[in-house]
């Protein structure tokens, strides 16, 4: 319990060794192939995620975007091995070449936090109410590194400094923190072992817009500094545009579109991506007409009885009979790919999708 100012030389030396050891960890590479996740329910099999594939190159950020219930958080939980034991998971997730799906808790012990760590969705409830924050961070460090409690605590102080929290507040309990501070504490915890892969599961959802942008710029700053690989789960396309090199857009448990962020946002191939983009406010550009906000009508289909064709067909203004009967394959255009039968007509769709009446006039549920 040495305060930051008075670290003894021995402690300072041990801490420096720990820091050096941890910062030597390379950023991780993750390749997910054909990941499907289903639950058996009384009314049949529920396909939460179907045939999702993507790759996170070492040292890059991948945005995982989609509306609530599209399965993006389920993917993250599957990667951490946190889904309930009766969940049916198939496919593989190669973390630096090692498949981490389907491992037991005991097998995951050395992998979790050490090589892949998590910034949770609801930091409000993610901290144990009866332990002080410092102890909770130390618990993670001590589980993986052979160091004394004092060294772990000193490391926790460093992590707190990194997220802009004063070291003395490590002694405080979660209920003494504001929402934004708790989120920062959770980020500090996720960074404690400098894992090669960071999974950020909607890290700003529970916060107000000002806090959101502060936390996101904090995450971006840390990323510049530490060069980890990260999967950022969010429904905010603007955040992805600012933070991620690549993006995967998910719809109803499937990949709708994926590719380099710049390409996907500039020239979306999938009508869902086009709709998603229109649904977010943009700053007006001088001399150009204001972009209207357009919401996508309808709701996500029931995944207990998924439609036989394209899952977006019922909400897509451009859907044809082919869309309603046959599920589209992924079509690759340049570095991008999209699950749409009509990727070659994307230019035409984009122009139409920018007009509010395109979405307003369609018959929902057809």
């Amino acid at each position: 319990m040495a305060p930051a100012r008075t670290r003894s030389p021995a402690l300072a030396r041990d801490l420096a060794r720990l820091d050096e050891r941890l910062s030597a960890k390379p950023a991780a590479h993750l390749k997910v192939n054909g990941l499907s996740i289903g639950y058996s329910t009384l009314r049949g099999r529920f396909h939460a995620v179907e045939d999702v594939s993507f790759e996170v190159r070492a040292g890059t950020n991948l945005g995982l975007v989609g509306e609530s219930g599209c399965g993006k958080s389920t993917v993250v939980k599957a990667l951490m091995g946190l889904l309930p034991e009766f969940t049916g998971i198939s496919g593989e997730a190669l973390l630096d070449g090692q498949n981490i799906l389907g491992l037991s808790d005991a097998q995951l012990e050395p992998i979790r936090w050490n090589r892949i760590s998590l910034i949770t969705q609801s930091a409000m409830n993610s901290l144990d109410p009866v332990y002080c924050i410092g102890d909770q961070i130390c618990e993670a460090i001590l589980a993986h590194e052979k160091v004394g409690k004092a060294v772990a605590w000193a490391r926790a102080e460093e992590m707190f400094a990194l997220v802009g929290l004063p070291a003395e507040r490590l002694y405080e309990f979660p209920h003494q923190f504001s929402g934004g501070m708790r989120q920062r504490a959770v980020i500090a915890m996720a960074l404690a072992l400098n894992a090669g892969m960071l999974l950020a599961d909607e890290p700003t959802t529970a916060l107000d817009p000002i806090m959101q942008s502060q936390i996101m710029s904090r995450i971006r700053g840390i990323h510049e500094h530490m060069r980890r690989s990260m999967i950022l789960v969010t429904h905010d396309i603007a955040v992805v545009a600012e933070t991620c090199e690549a993006v995967v857009v998910m719809y109803a448990g499937k990949v709708a579109e994926s590719g380099p962020t710049a390409d996907v946002l500039e020239r979306p191939l999938h009508p869902y991506t086009m709709g998603l983009q229109n649904a977010f406010p943009r700053l007006p550009v001088r001399g150009q007409p204001r972009q209207p906000l357009i919401s996508i009508p309808g709701t996500v289909p029931n995944l207990l009885l998924p439609p036989s064709g394209c899952r977006f067909a019922s909400r897509c203004p451009f859907a044809t009979d082919l869309c309603r009967t046959t599920a589209p394959q992924l079509h690759t255009v340049g570095a991008q790919s999209a699950a749409c039968h009509y990727t070659e007509r994307a230019d035409e769709f984009r122009a139409a999708a920018a007009r509010p009446e395109t979405w307003r006039n369609m018959r929902v549920g057809a």
């Binding site: 979790r112 009866v130 959770v186």
Partner: protein, 321 residues
Amino acid sequence: MRAYILRRLAQSVLVVWAVTTIMFFMFRVMPADPTAILLERGLTDEARQALLEQWGLTGSMWDQYLAYLGNLIQGDFGSSFFYRKPVWEVLWPLIVNTLWIAIPGLLLGAAIGAAIGTAVGWARRGGKLERSGIFLATVIRGVPNFVIGIALLTIFSSTLGWFPGFGMGDPGATTGFARYFTLDFLHHLALPLIAVIIYFMPENLLLMRSGVVENRTEDYIELVRAKGVPQRRVAWHAARNSMLPLITWLFPALAETIAGIVVIEIVFSWPGVGRELVLAVTRQDYPLAQAAFFLLAVMIVLANLAADLVYGKLDPRVVYK
């Protein structure tokens, strides 16, 4: 914090006073004559009157009450009618005897119950461990404690002959304080102690289990799992949080359990306060019975106070005002 404790202590004094007063008048309105128990045939009216006077039972009820209260404040519980000795001298060794089965019994019962409850709560839902754990706990909880006592006696004392059946020492065993450290005493202690543990454990087990089941799906447990700590440690987080409701229940439950220990003392003929309490009431031995009830009231009130203070230690969110 200090102000809180002082205020709670003042409240406790008030509660103990109220209990004492109620006890005092309840014994006085019972339609019986304490001198009858002495069964001294040919007790003349004069002699009887002299006894009543000596026992302080002659003045008005109000005078008796004030005298009793005055003595109590000075720490004087009076003299037992039956033993013709100061109450304190009669009770003191009995208190020690009761504590020998009560404290280890309650602590072990709570600890064992909490430990098994955590294991059962953490086990796979609907699995063998969970189902058998709940089943056994519910059955044991439903059995009256004298049945547990009699069953233990029948099996381990009468049939197997492993343990003595009654009392706390063989005749001619060491007396005085040294007796508590003899093998003979521990041999006698085993069965009543086990009875208290079995009696107190199931409720702890069930409460702890439901707490762990509730907590294991919380977000913070998921994060602890994600940290890659051993599963034991994850379960500990759930258990640690489940202790909070257990503690609030535990201390008031001690009161009920002390009542249960009375029965166990009788079944095993364990010379404790509880057994003496029942005897004193049947013998109309007011001073002894009142003192025993007074002690129980103080213990229960202190247990409740302790619960509040321990709760603040376990849950940092609790603020004392």
